[in-house]
């Protein structure tokens, strides 16, 4: 359960038995394919989820950067992002474990919608906790969860955002741990979540590696993925970690600046790999955005999905080992990346994903001749945010926005 000095199980005692039960189930079903769990998981990912997703040559970006750019199209997965790989795996595992109920928390709503879909598909009752303020900002996602039959419980404590929703879900789990599984949405949390979520997401790199060899005759020189909690990142890197020739770039949200306002407790970015320091959060030792007392800072990013003060412990370890290159791309460059991919390739990426394309623009000269970028999700969910944020800036590649911003 450790990645060097990172990882572990920093959870309330009441949850330890559940965590241990889960670790046992992980070993049996995921690692051991007991009862054909992994076969069923892979089959459902294919039929319900739409795997394999393509590895597509990006013709126009390849020309622009004079390098071969390939896109791993996780945006085409059911639900519109890589999130389903994990949600489906965990809900199925809960079923194999004899659990009768699913809970999850969600901030921007992406993990919640993926979990709700998986729970509907597998006929599991599901409750999603979501901060009241987030509910008001993400009504379409709330509606999607409810359409899929999940109960969405508004969390009104504190500021009504992700952190309060996490606490509320923990509370639920602490009371119902015997028949309930808590689906964590990234490679964070106590062991076995980080390894388990990585293993469910590793299909991204498993496919991408095979597709790259088949299409280009060799391994990529570089693999690029955006990083918030890090589940798409580790999923995209996993099978390349042992390929020492392949450089791995984790692109974090640089937000408005990497400078920290310690007084206000605000880091206007989410670059925990790039700027964070070791600490313990949500069950694991990892790199964090924290003040000198150890209080967690409020992080910020134009992309709500990257807006998290921690990061998966395995990524923290791989960064310390020098295997993963952590980089930060700011809000402006991410928005430019959003518009560039939309108008040159006909793919509207999630704002999370857009950070990876901001990186490509800024650093393509440092990259090798075959670059794989993970398109972790589609941008339909981000249209309102993109209109609002684009309107604040002067972006060359953006369309004329006047018809959208007038009267908004």
């Amino acid at each position: 359960g450790k990645f060097g000095r990172y990882g572990g199980q920093y959870v309330p005692e009441a949850l330890m038995p559940a965590i241990e039960e889960l670790a046992d189930a992980y070993e049996r079903y995921v690692l051991g394919n007991e009862d054909g769990f992994m076969d069923e998981f892979r089959e459902r990912l294919a039929d319900f989820g739409g795997r394999p997703t393509p590895l597509q040559r990006a013709d126009r970006l390849s020309e622009r950067y004079d390098t071969e750019v390939y896109l791993k199209r996780e945006d085409l997965l059911h639900g519109g992002a890589h999130k389903l790989n994990n949600a489906l795996g965990q809900v199925l595992l809960a079923k194999y474990m004899g659990k009768e109920r699913i809970i999850a928390e969600t901030g921007a709503g992406q993990h919640g919608t993926a979990t709700a879909m998986a729970a509907a598909h597998l006929d599991m009752p599901c409750t999603i906790y979501m901060g009241e303020r987030d509910i008001n900002r993400q009504r379409p996602n709330v509606f999607r969860m409810k359409l899929n039959g999940s109960e969405v419980k508004p969390v009104t404590t504190g500021r009504g955002t992700l952190k309060e929703a996490i606490s509320e879900t923990m509370r639920d789990w602490a009371e119902t741990v015997e028949d309930t599984h808590y689906v964590i949405g990234s490679i964070v949390g106590p062991h076995p979540f980080p390894v388990m979520v990585r293993d469910f997401q590793a299909i991204i790199s498993e496919e991408a590696r095979e597709q790259a060899v088949e299409k280009t005759g060799g391994l990529p020189t570089d693999v690029v993925a955006c990083a918030g909690g890090g589940s798409n990142t580790m999923g995209t890197f996993a099978d390349f970690v042992d390929d020492e020739s392949v450089a791995l770039h984790a692109v974090e949200a640089g937000g408005s600046t990497l400078e920290v306002d310690e007084e206000a407790g605000v880091a206007p970015n989410s670059a925990s790999l790039y700027t964070g320091e070791e600490g313990v959060l949500h069950g694991a030792r990892t790199k964090l955005l924290q003040d000198s007392d150890g209080q967690i800072m409020e992080s910020h990013s134009v992309s709500s999905g990257l807006d998290y003060a921690g990061v998966g412990p395995e990524l923290a370890y791989l960064v310390d080992e020098g295997r993963v290159d952590p980089v930060a791309v700011g809000d402006d460059a991410a928005l430019e990346g959003f518009h560039r991919l939309s108008n040159t390739e006909g793919i509207i990426p999630a704002l999370e994903t857009a950070h990876a394309f901001g990186y490509l623009e800024e650093h393509h000269e440092e990259l090798g001749e075959r670059v794989v970028v993970n398109v972790s999700g589609r941008g339909d969910k981000d249209l309102d945010a993109a209109i609002e944020e684009t309107d604040k800036r002067d972006i060359d590649e953006a369309p004329d926005m006047s018809m959208f911003t007038e009267g908004m």
């Binding site: 009441a14 330890m16 038995p17 504190g158 602490a174 119902t176």
Partner: protein, 295 residues
């Protein structure tokens, strides 16, 4: 038995009343008056909550109290100053999350290591050292299971603090053994599944847990959901060596804030409830010892 004589003493003679409040809730001065009221009400040990920004093990009552305290500017250093400032007889225990313990003094350590070119030696030792200096006699860390506790345990031993673990209704077998090897001072027996919070009922899980723990020779303080003298009586009659009360007391502070009560009025209520709880616990203890001598 434990590292701290004061805590041993608190459990030595009759049942211990262990109240909890969040330090700095809703502000430093009121909080000081409230903690002193607990002491006057009969507290044997006082658990002082040091607020962390992500309190994953708390019910909403205590979570809101932590937010109030943080918003009012509570920090670990102010917490220690508070402990030093207190005029109480009860033994003091600090309840907080591991990241605050782990980070304490880290920035100094890091600056020093940057200057010397060596790796920073962050870890729990500076926090425990400072806590000891402030008169804290024990620690409860709800997100630190026994498996991850070695460094903190060592620091506590070094500075003479007890490290209290929480035993859940689901803690059994090897895990329980391991925990009981590491615990000192008292064991915090979680009366039911869930997070902190006052409840009307006292669960059957409490009795089961106490049965399970009978063989271990360490004081057992039961917490989670105790809010009345009657509950305290039943729990101590059932075998507990102490009762831990948090949310019911924090509720009085929260009510005070909501209804804009004076610090004195809130302190009086805290003292009164403490008296009721302490007396309940003593009744329970008497009925238990009487029952034992009758047999």
């Amino acid at each position: 038995m434990g590292n701290s004589d004061a805590i041993d003493a608190a459990f030595a003679d009759g049942p211990a009343y262990v109240p909890y409040l969040v330090v700095g809730d809703p502000d430093y001065e009121s909080s000081k008056a409230y903690v002193e009221a607990l002491d006057r009400g009969g507290a044997d040990v006082i658990e002082l909550g040091l607020p962390f920004s992500e309190p994953i093990a708390e019910g909403s009552t205590i979570q809101e109290a932590l937010v109030r305290s943080l918003d009012a500017g509570m920090t670990p250093d102010r917490f220690f100053a508070f402990a030093e400032d207190l005029d109480v007889d009860a033994a003091l225990v600090c309840m907080t999350y591991y990241n605050l313990i782990y980070q304490y003094g880290g920035s100094e350590a890091r600056s020093a290591s940057n200057a010397s070119g060596e790796a920073a030696s962050t870890g729990p030792r500076p926090f425990v050292e400072r806590a000891a200096a402030a008169g804290i006699q024990g620690l409860v860390v709800p997100d630190l299971p026994a498996e991850e506790a070695d460094p903190l345990r060592e620091a506590c031993d070094e500075f003479g603090l007890d490290l209290v673990f929480i035993v859940a209704p689901t803690t059994r077998g090897d895990r329980l053994d391991r925990m009981m090897e590491n615990v000192s001072g008292y064991v915090y027996v979680q009366a039911r599944l869930g997070t902190t919070g006052a409840r009307d009922d006292v669960s059957d899980q409490t009795t089961e847990s106490l049965d399970r723990l009978r063989e271990y020779d360490v004081p057992k303080a039961v917490g989670f959901g105790i809010s009345t003298g009657e509950q305290a009586e039943r729990i101590v009659a059932g075998g507990a060596d102490g009762i831990i009360v948090g949310s019911a007391l924090v509720d009085l502070v929260a009510e005070g804030v909501e209804e804009d009560r004076s610090t004195g009025a809130v302190a009086d209520r805290l003292e009164a409830l403490s008296r009721e709880l302490k007396q309940g616990a003593e009744r329970g203890y008497r009925s238990r010892t009487e029952a034992a001598s009758t047999q």
